[in-house]
Amino acid sequence: MRILLQSMRKDLSRWRRDSSALLTWILIPFVIGGLMTFVVGDGAKPHGVLLLVDQDESLLSGLVAGAYTRGELGELLSVEKVSLEEGTERINAGDASGLLLIPEGFEDAFFDAEPVTLTLRTNPSQTILPGIIRDVTEIVLDAGFYAQKLFGEEIRSIRQASSTNEKGTGPSAELVSAVAVAVRQRIVEIDPYLNPLALEVEVAEPVDTAPVAPMGLLFLPGIILMAVMFSANGLAADYWVEREQGTLRRIHCAPGQLGAFVAGKGLAAIVVIGLIGGLTLLVGSLYHGVGTVRFLPSLLWISVSGLALFAWFSVLQMLGSTQRAANILSSLLLFPLLMAGGSFFPFAALPDWIAAVGRHTPNGFVVDRLTTEITSTAAWAIDAQSWLIVLLMAASGLAVTSWRLKSGFARA
């Protein structure tokens, strides 16, 4: 027991002095997480510019232009009216998400049922905003087609009457009345289809998944695990330092103390990882408004999982013939694991096959359960089987580490 506590205290004291390593482990996930939150976090929305060349300058072309700035769409897009020359120059320079050209005759086309083509030039270095602009434009133009089919004849007759009336007094009261009746008749005809919608779609919610959480919050578990993985890997590399300093050789010579020494390093790792992961969790939870009741189980999960990852990173370090070889080996595994395990993108944003593989990686397993804990309605949502798995992972990792130390690593 004395060796265990001494080993832990020694490690904690050494790590406290290596502030640059601790700072790096904390800062990298903080920087990445902060940027991710800025980009995809709650309330963060992309914003682009739609350049509009309105050569028709009519009421209908104005209505089309207005469609892009209504409601939530207005938060995504700003519409700027420009000349064709300026618009072409700007879109070719990548200075906007799209350029929409409404040609002259746009409104007449509606009244006269003469086809006219609008041109949308999209920014090829963008994907999402040009897609939204295209979809909205198509919906607006479809709506125009249907309106024209339903009411075109009536509108045309009013228009003709206005233009042929020599006195300039507009269409006659009889004509207006007849058109009003016809329009009402059309509305009555389509009303059964629209009120309520005669063709509706219901999206079945999956029964076995957690409630949908905000995208920004879904990044949090992966970012925490990034901090945990960097710390666990860095802490595990310490076995090489201990070997160079002769500590391992001395411990190996003292009978029955190697196990306590490894357990002490494990406890120190729990403290360091708990602090780093806990700090990331605390900041993330405060920002995203995660309930305080989930903090303790999440922190415990992070710490125990961190111990398991530390133990197996230690085994990995001891597979290398030199410290450099071991570092290369662990880096080679660390980054693909972070990618597949949901630290760069949450599982919800990964292609299904990568997410399926990722959930079976050690860190992905931890991220998956941590997501459950953070997004569930009640605390202590991680099931007992998962707790058992990480505890077994930690115990087996520490046991293999002790064995590897005894079987040669500590003697070298």
Binding site: T24, P46, V116, R134, L197, S331
Partner: protein, 387 residues
């Protein structure tokens, strides 16, 4: 030996030493393809979910759907689904794997709709939450368009609605057509790997130079190698030029390898102005070499150089548009991109590759990179120290 020979001697020695380091080789040759694959696959998936990507398989279950089947089929296809119609519902007790996406209608859907009965399609998908939302929007748009078709065809038809009325409506020319084309000369919008490869390449060049390039200088200082160089008959400027040349060679190897891998493994197309693309990347390599030299001169320890390098590279890469299309970032990030060297490099590459806007279009970005290189190199020369 002349000054140039002295500098080249140091550069040659440096690059040979760097290329013998396992960690450098890992970040130079192994990690970039892994990141190309991962980021390209993930962001390619985003674009297919939004617009214009490959069609999404969809099983449509409907017993005796009637004459509306072709109309629904057509609208689903217009919204990037690939519907496969089934007559009976998938039996959950079957041992077969259930379909990833299904849209189930009650039987006799056409008859029910015409009879004034509300028809509800049940959409089930195994897609993850983000993609689920995209699919839901596309399904809703498909079915609401069918409903508009039915309402308009019925209102304009003198008799009860038939398939012929819908065919007649479909045959009517749309009064307002839409022609969509990408700006610039390139006809195919770059997505997935075409987007990811330049960004990751720019990021890794910076990362390798700010970590390996900077830390090596710190190690040489700690080991006294720089002090020994100071006592050799080589001027300070020759040493700095040599150290810069070694880093430049490392950056060129990184860029060259990434371009070859991007082209051969990921089908990256570099546009018609390859020479200018190479010039911009050369400018970027020179900038990274200067930045690596400066960081190596400022950092007190190897760990400090690596830590600061990783942080700076990630921060500049994210803010400069290497990680994601800059369009998805808030306004302030988009403005900030114009002030960052990563932003200049990405902007220049987008103009040449995405827009095919001609070599002259990237001259301002190249000039900015070269100016940045000179400024950083000037500071690095001043801060360079032997111990």
């Amino acid at each position: 030996m002349s000054s140039v020979e002295n500098a080249l001697f140091i550069s040659g020695h440096d690059i040979r030493y760097q290329l013998r380091q396992g960690a450098t080789l890992l970040w130079l040759f192994v990690m970039p393809p892994i990141f190309f694959f991962f980021i390209g696959t993930v962001t390619g998936g985003f674009s297919s979910g939004v617009s214009g990507g490959p069609a999404t398989p969809l099983t449509v279950v409907a017993a005796s759907p009637g004459f509306l089947q072709p109309q629904i089929d057509m609208r689903l296809r217009e919204n990037d689904f690939a519907p496969q119609w089934q007559d009976i519902a998938f039996a959950t007790e079957d041992s077969e794997q259930p379909p990833a996406r299904s849209l189930t209608f009650p039987d006799l859907l056409s008859d029910r709709l015409i009879a004034g009965e509300q028809v509800i399609g049940n959409f089930e998908t195994s897609a993850s939450s983000l993609r689920r939302d995209f699919e839901k929007i596309r399904i809703q748009r498909s079915l609401y368009t069918v409903l508009a078709d039915v309402a308009v065809a019925d209102a304009t038809s003198p008799a009860t609605l038939t398939a012929a009325d819908l065919e007649a409506l479909n045959a009517e020319p749309r009064i307002w057509g839409l022609q969509v084309e990408p700006a610039g000369k390139r006809q195919k919008i770059p997505t997935g790997f075409d987007q990811a490869v330049p960004g990751i390449m720019v990021m890794f060049t910076l990362l390798v130079l700010l970590t390996s390039g900077a830390s090596m200088l710190a190690i040489e200082r700690r080991q006294g190698l720089l002090r020994r160089l100071a006592s050799a008959p080589i001027s300070r400027h020759e040493i700095v030029a040599g150290k810069w040349g070694g880093r430049m060679a490392l950056a060129v190897v990184q860029v060259g390898f990434a371009m070859v891998v991007g082209t051969l493994l990921f089908g990256m197309r570099w546009g018609p102005d390859l020479a200018m693309v190479l010039a911009v990347l050369f400018g970027w390599a020179a900038f990274c070499a200067s930045a690596g030299l400066l960081l190596g001169s400022i950092a007190r320890t190897e760990g400090q150089a690596v830590g600061l390098g990783v942080l700076a590279a990630n921060l500049l890469a994210a803010l400069g548009g290497c990680w994601w299309p800059i369009e998805i970032t808030p306004d302030w990030m988009q403005s900030l991109q114009n002030l960052l060297p990563t932003g200049w490099a990405m902007d220049g590459l987008h103009k040449l590759i995405s827009f095919e806007a001609g070599a002259a279009s990237a001259v301002p970005q190249l000039a900015a990179l070269l100016l940045g290189t000179v400024v950083l190199l000037g500071v690095a020369v001043q801060r360079f120290r032997y111990d």
